[in-house]
């Protein structure tokens, strides 16, 4: 996953190009240019290497400028120096699977809607974004729900909530060098995406419907190639098929909800048939087919919950999943699935995996660098590496301890959360207006309490 995923998303193009830095959207214009800051005497968890005691971290112009033992890092003369004795500094957390801001992509009209974008549905003022910052998160992959075989396009966001909040969701998108918002494609199999017609009723039908669409997309792409740029020979533009073509070209990573061991194997089978790059999500029974996942070289973004069950597919969910997958050679990241797990408790997911024997460093990477890799953005953030974007979480202790608190969260070199400020403390602790007044809208499946399957 070393290449940046850049893709053509023509309808966003016009907006995106005008939203480049210092644009009318005010992407970075609301606060002054980030200064040079040096934290000294900190316990540093760079993630790309071993932890550093009494270390120094320097950021400048929103990027990481230097990191290492005090003797090895030159602090620029204009730097603001902060004594971070007793503090732990780690990369900002990357959540590969979040629903903060809304779930409104595909609707109930059909099971396959790859052209629908979640970014058109998001509420930038959702308090969940603030709570995520309080948990040390800096990057989210915001996804449509799992009630469809293909529920739409996801969008990768940076939590650019500074002294002045973003006014539109466009201000928090992660963009490629051409200014285009980056995201993946959400797919699902198993029971969530099954239902009454036109939704599939069985697993076999689910896979068939997906294959049928990808074959159509292949034919669509073949026509485009055959037209050789001659507009009169181009097929009518189809947003759905365009999205699937992008997936097959590796321009859009498929984020695939899947729980049961045989459903996992189905995802592997389909991804190999059509060549789309896939991240397995949830993967509750991944521990049963860890060897097969490793052989297929598919990374796993896993969920960790307090107990198994709640639906049949999640019955054999276990804390040991991360350990077993990691030991089999699978790349493992964690996710919140927020609102399933509140983002403020994200670090706990990694800690519970360590409880079940997962390697500590791998678990920390599962909150940061591994997630960035699963978005294809590891060259931009995910570790405290010189040159990367300065996304940082500062804690008062070990991130895997229940007693540790996130003190500050920095995004691209600017402070976005400060526990010492009452307005930020509200989102860290909760209280009046710290939550979301609506429960999420889950299209198009319903858990038992909402009357069962649709």
């Amino acid at each position: 996953m070393n290449t940046r995923r850049e893709f053509l998303c023509a309808t966003t193009l016009a907006v995106a190009s005008s939203a480049l830095p210092q644009s009318t959207f005010g992407l970075h214009s609301q606060t002054k240019s980030p200064g040079t800051i040096a934290w000294t005497n900190a316990t540093l968890l760079p993630v790309d290497g071993p932890s550093i005691q009494k270390g120094t971290l320097v950021i400048q112009e929103g990027k990481i400028k230097g990191i290492g033992a005090a003797a090895n890092v030159t602090i620029p003369t204009d730097a603001t120096v902060i004594n971070a004795e007793g503090k732990w500094v780690m990369p900002g957390l990357v959540c590969t699977h979040s629903h903060i801001g809304g779930l409104g992509a595909a609707d109930g009209s059909g099971p396959i809607q790859p052209g629908v974008r979640v970014l058109d549905s998001l509420n930038v003022r959702d308090s969940g974004f603030r709570r995520a910052l309080a948990g040390g998160l800096t990057t989210l992959n915001i996804m449509p729900g799992s009630g469809h075989l293909i529920s739409g396009q996801t969008v990768y966001c940076k939590l650019r909530y500074f002294e002045t909040s973003p006014r539109t969701i466009d201000e928090i998108f992660i963009r490629d060098k051409d200014g285009r918002a980056i995201g993946g494609l959400k797919m699902a199999n198993g029971t969530n995406s099954q239902g009454e017609s036109p939704f599939p009723g069985t697993r076999g039908k689910s896979a068939f419907l997906v294959r049928e669409q990808y074959i159509k997309a292949r034919e669509y792409q073949a026509k485009i190639v055959a037209a050789k740029g001659d507009a009169s020979k181009l097929p009518p533009r189809d947003l759905h098929l365009e999205s699937l073509v992008e997936a097959m070209q590796g321009k859009r990573i498929v984020h695939h909800h899947t729980h049961r061991h045989d459903d996992i194997m189905t995802v592997i089978r389909l991804s190999q048939e059509f060549g789309f790059q896939t991240v397995l999500h949830h993967v509750s029974e991944g521990w049963k087919v860890a060897k097969e996942i490793a052989e297929a070289k598919l990374p796993c973004s896993i969920i960790v919950l307090d107990s198994p069950g709640g639906k049949v597919e999640a019955k054999e969910m276990t804390f040991k999943n991360g350990r077993v997958l990691d030991e089999a050679g699978v790349k493992v990241a964690f996710h919140t699935d927020d609102w399933i797990t509140d983002s403020r408790l994200f670090m706990r997911s990694a800690a519970l995996a360590v409880r079940a024997g997962m390697n500590r460093d791998k678990a920390i990477a599962g909150l940061t660098l591994a997630g960035a890799e699963m978005l294809g953005l590891e060259d931009r953030f995910g570790s405290l590496t010189v040159g990367k974007e300065a996304d940082i979480a500062i804690l008062d202790g070990d991130p895997l301890s229940v007693y540790s608190r996130v003190l500050e969260t920095w995004v691209e070199g600017k402070k976005a959360f400060d526990l010492s400020k009452p307005e930020d403390q509200l989102f860290a602790e909760g209280g009046l207006n710290a939550g979301s007044d609506l429960d999420p809208f889950l299209c198009c499946f319903a858990p038992a309490w909402q009357g069962g399957a649709k």
Partner: protein
Amino acid sequence: MILSLFRFASSIAIASIALQVSHAAQPLVVQAKKLITAAGPTIENGTIVSVDGKITALGKSADILVPDNAIVLQCAVAMPGMVDVRTCAGLSGILNVEHDSDHLESSSPLQPELRAIDAYNPNEELVEYLRNFGVTTIHTGHAPGELISGQTLITKTTGNTIEAALMVDGRAIAATLAESSKKSGKTSPGTRGKQMAMLRSLFIEAQEYQAKLNAKPTASSTSDKEKKEPEPPVRSLRLEALAEVLSGKKALLITADRAQDIASAIRLSDEFKIKIWLDSAADAHMMIPQIKASGISVLLHPSMARASGEKENLSFETAKKLRAANVPFAIQGGFEAYVPKVRVVLFEAAVAAAHGLSYDDAIESITISPARILGIDHRVGSLVIGKDADIAMFDGDPFEYTTHCVGVVINGVMVSTAAQ
């Protein structure tokens, strides 16, 4: 026989041996480097002796005689078996399908006559799951979601039948004042006002029923010597259950998150002079003076409950604030409709401890405090001579994410050594 449970990897191997030899007749001894009693200071290097299921000796290891034939369990930390003050485990099952979902009957909004004892499955996997983390007693029953959904019971998390595990049958009646207990269309209750009107009408009916039950024989007008027996009321299981709320034998557990619903619950309690417990109570932190003045106990929502819908205003600090105001409270596992299907009070108290509740208070919030609220503190909730030998063992600080529960004892019997 001495079993060391210090390292979690080794405890798995000995599990089968221990379970074979552990039975109530054989004395059982737990030795812990730290012994948290919830009845006084932590004892360093402490020992508990259990004979016939009860604690017979407890103190510093140097002062305690270990019976000759005892099973000896050694661990880093031991604490009282935990008490979950409000769950639906056993009525609500792991699969969350019709087959294992008996926590909510939706045919009518008012069904206080439904008994938990007729619905509880002691072999439900979620019950075993809780037990393996050291939860030894649960107050479980009908779920939130109907105006009155049914009764609750208190049971140990062991036993093959509810009869074998039961502590208290019909401890409370579960009511809900929330959006979830409203109906749509032309079905009642469709509003909060209607919910209260229906509850009040039913309690008035129950008062009349109770008056008939308690009516004294009256002197006959024709003869002073002939006492006329009052006509007993036609037996009503529904009113009988509510009459037990009026008499104080049962509590009325009211699930209410929004401040206005909490206020309604208090109003109901005042009008009918009934014992209520506030269940969930997300807005409790905004209603502390009113709750304190009413003398009501709070069965507080899980610390990690989701901040949305009617729980939008919940706070990690509510436990701390209730404690500071001396409001009796316990932290619950609660009811979960989706995933995770059940929550573990150990984890919930840990998060409260990380958000301002003192360590000792956090321990009490899942041991002696729920036992007191439920009225079972003479048997469980703390490690004291004479109480049930319900003990949870850990290889470190029980609250720490990476610590394992390495053994669980209920009624003096080792019921789990599967490290969790």
